[in-house]
């Protein structure tokens, strides 16, 4: 009986230590500067979308704990910290408005709003491209574009974290978020 209690206690301790390890992991970079994304020709999104996406991207970066500090666009960084700082820039390459009727009649993702974005993560000191992210987000056409921005920012940071922790692959695979 006593042996069983000891074994259970050891297993519990081991599980607790294993779950605590990722939380204690130090962020990869000291600071990250997110820039406003540009829109490609033909992309019909409101200027408020880009503004909101910028805010949401910074919010997701803070939540992901990928960096110590998320700084605003155009903020100065100490020269000593430049090697451990990154700049995130990108563009919205494609946006399809979707179709409510098609979505309601067919379903299964038909008529969904679609958004494609590209982003580059560049080291501040030597401008080396650490990773390139391509994100494809699909949302229900009845949802407003800000909800789409929220989903896109979440996917973007998730892919960024994956690419940077795996050793900075040149290009991450395309991600599709159905809803």
């Amino acid at each position: 009986m006593r042996q069983l209690v000891v074994v259970i206690a050891l297993v519990g301790l081991f599980a607790a230590a294993a779950s605590a390890r990722p939380k204690d992991q130090a962020p990869l970079f000291k600071s990250a500067e997110a820039k406003h994304f540009t829109t490609a020709e033909g992309v019909e999104l409101s200027p408020a979308f880009v503004d909101y996406f910028y805010a949401e991207l910074r919010n997701e970066l803070t939540k992901a704990k990928l960096v110590n500090e998320v700084i605003g666009e155009g903020e100065a960084v100490d020269d000593a910290d430049a090697a451990k700082s990154v700049v995130i820039s990108g563009s919205i390459t494609e946006y399809k408005k979707g179709n409510v009727v098609k979505s309601a009649l067919i379903g299964f993702g038909a008529g969904f709003k679609s958004l494609r974005m590209d982003a580059d993560v560049v080291r501040r000191s030597d401008k080396q491209n650490l990773c390139a992210i391509h994100v494809h987000v699909k949302v229900d056409p009845r949802w407003n574009e800000k909800v789409m921005a929220k989903g896109a920012a979440h996917e973007m940071v998730k892919e960024m974290k994956k690419a940077l922790t795996e050793g900075g692959k040149p290009s991450a695979p395309e991600v599709t978020k159905p809803s």
């Binding site: 408020a48 503004d51 909101y52 910028y54 805010a55 949401e56 910074r58 919010n59 700084i71 605003g72 666009e73 155009g74 903020e75 100065a76 407003n144 800000k146 909800v147 921005a149 929220k150």
Partner: protein, 221 residues
């Protein structure tokens, strides 16, 4: 004047009463500032200012509201409204001055200042976000001017913040307050730590050259 027929009188009654009802309805929907729906926005700890090669003394001469918002103190109209206790211009001026003062970069008065900043506020409060959360935004630009040479340069700053939405009025008020405070802090930080301010100071304030160079022609604001 001929007396109105029964039909005309009833028509007049219906029109008048509907007009009165609609105006009273509008008046009831318009929120009013009360102590329980008024929030105080504060910067909290001063934002650390960047290091300058030749640290100048700044003076915030004036903050002008260019938002075009007819009710700048009303930040949220729904749920009985949420109001600010001060004008956004006063809050912004206070926060910039507080940060400059903590870094010993605030002049005692305009006459003794090396660089005078005139601020134009474009947005303060909540902006249109998704229905799931609150999107706080503070946007302004500062016209940094050297009073001795008359040269000036524009410095833009933006601060954003995303906060969770809420259902209860008390929680909404708390989240809105935290959200605007975070956006104000972010915008102040963007201004005092921005490369634009660094470039403006480097271009406008050269203490060594002032005694030798003649005053340049004044530039427009």
């Amino acid at each position: 004047m001929a007396p109105l027929s029964l039909w005309n009188r009833s028509l007049l009654f219906v029109t008048t009463s509907s007009l009165l009802l609609s105006t009273s309805g509008v008046a009831a929907d318009e929120p009013k500032p009360k102590p329980e729906n008024t929030i105080t926005i504060q910067l909290g700890d001063p934002v650390p200012v960047q290091k300058f090669e030749h640290p100048p003394k700044f003076w915030i001469s004036d903050v002008t509201d260019r938002s075009g918002n007819p009710q700048p103190m009303l930040v949220l109209k729904e749920r009985g409204g949420i109001f600010l206790d001060k004008q956004p211009t006063a809050i912004l001026k206070e926060s910039i001055e507080q940060s400059l003062k903590s870094a010993n970069l605030l002049a005692a008065d305009q006459a003794s200042a090396d660089l005078v900043v005139r601020v134009y506020l474009f947005h303060f409060g909540l902006a249109s976000g998704s229905v799931l959360d609150l999107f706080g935004k503070v946007e302004f630009s500062g016209m940094v001017k050297n009073p001795k040479t008359g040269e000036s340069q524009e410095v833009k700053a933006t601060g954003t913040s995303i906060a969770n939405g809420a259902v209860r009025k008390k929680n909404i008020q708390k989240n809105v307050q935290e959200n605007i405070e975070a956006a104000l802090r972010d915008a102040t930080r963007n201004f005092v730590r921005g490369t634009q301010l660094k470039d403006a100071v480097a271009q406008l304030y050269k203490p060594g050259e002032l005694s030798t160079s003649p005053p340049a022609a004044s530039t427009s604001n």
